[in-house]
Point group: C2
Amino acid sequence: MTRVLKSYLSGTFVAGTGRAAKLYDPARGTVVAETSTEGLDIAGALDYARDVGGPALRELTFAQRGELLSAMASALHEYRDELLDLARLNGGNTRGDAKFDIDGCTGTLAFYGKLGGTLGDRTFFVDGESEQLARNPRYIGQHIRVPRHGVAVHINAFNFPGWGFGEKAAVALLAGMPVLCKPGTSTSLVTARMFEILAAADVLPKGAVSLLCGSAGSLLDHLGPQDAVAFTGSSGTGAMIRGRANLLAAGVPVNVEADSLNSAVLGPDVDDESETFDMFVRETARDMWQKAGQKCTAIRRIYVPRESLDDVREALIGEIQRNLVGDPGLKQVRVGPVATAQQHRDVKEGIQTLAKEGRFVYGDGGPGTLEGEGLENGYFVGPTLLEVDGPGPGAVHDLEVFGPVQTLIPYDGTAAEAIPSVARGKGSLVSSVYTDDKNFARDMILGLAPYNGRLHLGGRKVADHSPGPGTVLPQMVHGGPGRAGGGEELGGVRGLHFYMQRTAVQGLKPLIERIAGV
Amino acid sequence: MTRVLKSYLSGTFVAGTGRAAKLYDPARGTVVAETSTEGLDIAGALDYARDVGGPALRELTFAQRGELLSAMASALHEYRDELLDLARLNGGNTRGDAKFDIDGCTGTLAFYGKLGGTLGDRTFFVDGESEQLARNPRYIGQHIRVPRHGVAVHINAFNFPGWGFGEKAAVALLAGMPVLCKPGTSTSLVTARMFEILAAADVLPKGAVSLLCGSAGSLLDHLGPQDAVAFTGSSGTGAMIRGRANLLAAGVPVNVEADSLNSAVLGPDVDDESETFDMFVRETARDMWQKAGQKCTAIRRIYVPRESLDDVREALIGEIQRNLVGDPGLKQVRVGPVATAQQHRDVKEGIQTLAKEGRFVYGDGGPGTLEGEGLENGYFVGPTLLEVDGPGPGAVHDLEVFGPVQTLIPYDGTAAEAIPSVARGKGSLVSSVYTDDKNFARDMILGLAPYNGRLHLGGRKVADHSPGPGTVLPQMVHGGPGRAGGGEELGGVRGLHFYMQRTAVQGLKPLIERIAGV
C-alpha cells in the first residue's frame, strides 16, 4: 500500500482528499508515497498559527526559544538513520548526500538553539544606541525590533527537504514567529516524517509549526501585512510570488533565495602541483557529484587561466571518473539520480542547449554506466563537463542546469577579465577564488562582492579546513543579489531581522529605556 | 513667458520635446512652468551615472563622500530665500511649510555629511565580527557591505520636492551610489532649481546626480540587477513599481515608503488641564495645518477616551479656528492650498466618503473663508474634522485622504481596544501615544510596534522638546510595515544598507582581514 503523507495544520495531522500527487523513488521511478492538500482548511491553519502559535512564541525569551530549537534538533537526531533512509528512498540521495541534508537540518537547529542562549532573557531586540533628538538630552530615540504578529510561510525547494525546513524554521522561531512549512512536494517524505517526530516529541508550543504537504493551493491568498514569506527555488517562481497582487498590496515581505550561476575562479598563480590546485579541483568536482549537482550553491562556471586549461580539464576528468553513478543505496556510488522525472527532462534539455555554444569534455547528458540493479526507469544523468571558448556572453551565464553539469571557461588570468564575466550571471549566491596571490585575491574579492552573496577564498593555507563553497554555514548570510533573488537567510542573528519589525521609538529617555529594557 | 524646466542627464541640462506637463501655482491655478522628458536619452543617462558617477563615488571614502554632502547643503542653503519662494509659488507652501521642506533638505544633507566624517577613511563597511568557521581558527568568515554598482533611482512624491530629493540622495551618495532623481512632476520647480544650483556650485563628481524632470517615461525599463529603486508615494503606485516584471526578473531592490493612516492615541490618564493634553492637541492640530495636511506622516486617526471626547473636540476646533486658510504668501495664513487640481478633487471626494460613516465636527470639505485675493481658482480645502462612533472597522482605517483632514475616534481608554483598532490601518509610518502613565505607555508602545515604523511618545516631561510625530529626523528610520510599504529610509547609517550588497567572505584569517581592512 502506498504511504499517504499528511499535513500538520491547526495542531492536527490531516490528509487531503481528491487526486493526490505521487512521490517517487528517483532511482527506480516507483511510487513511494502520495499526498494531497485538497479540502484542507489552510486559512484556518494560518489563523491558528497567528492566534495560538504567535503569542506563545512571543512570550518566550530568545533563550527559551533557543531551547525549543535544541529540543527539535535532539528529537530529529534520534531518528537520524530512518531519515537518512527516507532521503535515499524519496530523494535519490547517497548516504553522504542524505547526511548533508539531515545533519544540515539538525546542525542548523542546534546552532540557532545555542545562539538563542547568547541572546538571553529578552523577548525582542534593542537596535543600536539611543540618539539624542532635541537640545534637551532627555528627549531621545531608540530603535527596537519586535517579532511580526503574523505567520512565517516557508516555501522550500525539493533538493533539501530536511535542511530547507530546519534552516528557515530555526531562524523564524527564534525571532518569535510561528512557521508554516510548504516543502517541495516531490521530496516531502523527509519533511513529513520530521513533523511526525516533532509532534510525537511534543517539544513545541501549539501552533508554532505547521506543515502543508503537497500543492500550495490557496496558501498565498490568505496572507496579510504581518505575515512573511521565505521562498527557495527558481528565480522565475520567486519573481512570480513576489509579484502577486495581494502580497504587494499588503506589503508582505518576501525573501527569495534563487538558484544562480555560481562560479569558481582559478588564479593565474596556481600551478598544478600545488595544494591550492588540488583544493580547486576537489571542491569543483564535489559540486558535480554532491546531490547530483542539485545544490543552489553549486559551481556551474569554472574559470581557468588559458595556460592551465589542459591541466584542469585532465584533473577534473580524473575526478569525475572516480565518482560512480547509480543506485544511491550502494556504498561505492557517489552520484545518485536527479530528484524527479521533470528534473530529468529539464537537465537533459539544458545540457543540449549549453552544448550548442560549447563542446562536451566529459559525458553527453546521457546516464552513462550505472552501478546497481533495476535502475532502468531512474532519473540518472551522468556527470557532464562542457567547455566554451572564452568568458564572453552566452548561455553559460544565463541558463542554470540543475544537475551534475559544469562548464569550463578559459580566461586570460586577470581580474579585469574574470570579474565582468562572473557578473554576466546577473547575481549569484556564491563565487570562489583559488589563489595564493594576495593582490589577485583582494582584487577579485572586492570586485566580485557586489555580484555575490558569499565569496569563498581558497588557498594553500586553508586547503584542509574549508567546507567548500557549496556548504551553507549558519553563521554566514545565504542569498545573493539580482538573479539569486536579493534575499538573505541565516547569517547568525542577521537572519532574524527578516521576521521582525524595526521600529523607531521617540520620547522621554528614562521611559523609553524602561520600555526597551536597557 | 512660461519657465521651461530642464532635466540634468549625462552631465548636461536638457529639455524634452513635444507636449509638456504644466506646473501650477496651486493658490491661483495659474501656470508657472512646464516640463517634458520626451525624446530624452534616459538609458544613456543611466549608463552615464553607472559608468562615470559610480566609479567616482566608490573611490571616495565615506568621509570624502560626506564632504560632498556638506558642500551640497551649503550650496543650496545660499539660495534658501529663492527656494522658499519657489516652494510657495509651485507648492502652495506657507513660509513655514516651505522651510520644513527646504531646511529639511539641507539639514538632512548636512546630517549625513557629518555622519560621513564619523565613518572615516573607508570605502565600504565591515559588518560585524569575524566568525571562526572550522576547527582551525585560521579559517574564518567576515561580512562586508559594498556599494552596489548600479544607479539609485529615486522616485519622489509631490509634497516634498526639496526634502524628498535631499534625504534620499544624501543616503545613496554616502553609500557610494550615483543618484537619478525623478521628482513629482507637479511640484518639481524646487527640485529643478536645486539641480541648477548644485551644477553651478560644481561640488559633485560627474555623474553623481541626475534629474529626470517630468514623466518617468521608460525609466524603469532600463534598470538591471545592480540598480536600486526608492519610491515615495501612494501604496498603489508602490505596489505597481514593485510588481514590474523586469524589476522582479532582475531582482532590483525596491524600497517603498507609502502614505498610511497614522494615528495619535490619547491616554486615559490625561486630563484637559495638563501639559500632556496641550501637547496632544498642539501636535494633532499641527498635522492638520502643516503642508495643508499633505504629509505622509500626518495624523489621520485621533483616538480619544470617550470621557475626554468633548474636551478634545472643543480644543481641536479652537486650534483649527486659529489657523487661517488662504494665500500662502500672507504672513497670517497657516493653511495653504493642496498641491494640484487632482489632489483637490481627490481630497474633496475622500472627505465625502469618510463622512458617510461619520459626521462633520468642523468643516465640510469646502474651502471655507479664504485670506487673500485672486484665490478663486486655487486648490483650497478647509480643515475638516470628522468623528466616528467607535474604533471598529470602517473607511477611516482604509482611506487616506491626503489633505487637512482628520477623524476623531472614541475608544474605551484601554490598550486592548486601541491596539487592534490602530492595527486596522494595516501598517503605518508612525503612531503617537500621549500619556504620563508608564504602564499604558509600555503596553501601547510594545503593542503598536509591529504595526508601525516609528512611535512617538508624548508626555508632560517632553512637551517642550518634541518635534511632533510628523517630523522625520534623519537619525531615526522612516518607513513602516504593510500598507506603509515595508521600506526603511534614513535611520542614520541604517539607511545606507539598502544601497549596498552584504557579502559573506570566507577564507584565511590574515588574508580576509587584509582585504576587509580590519
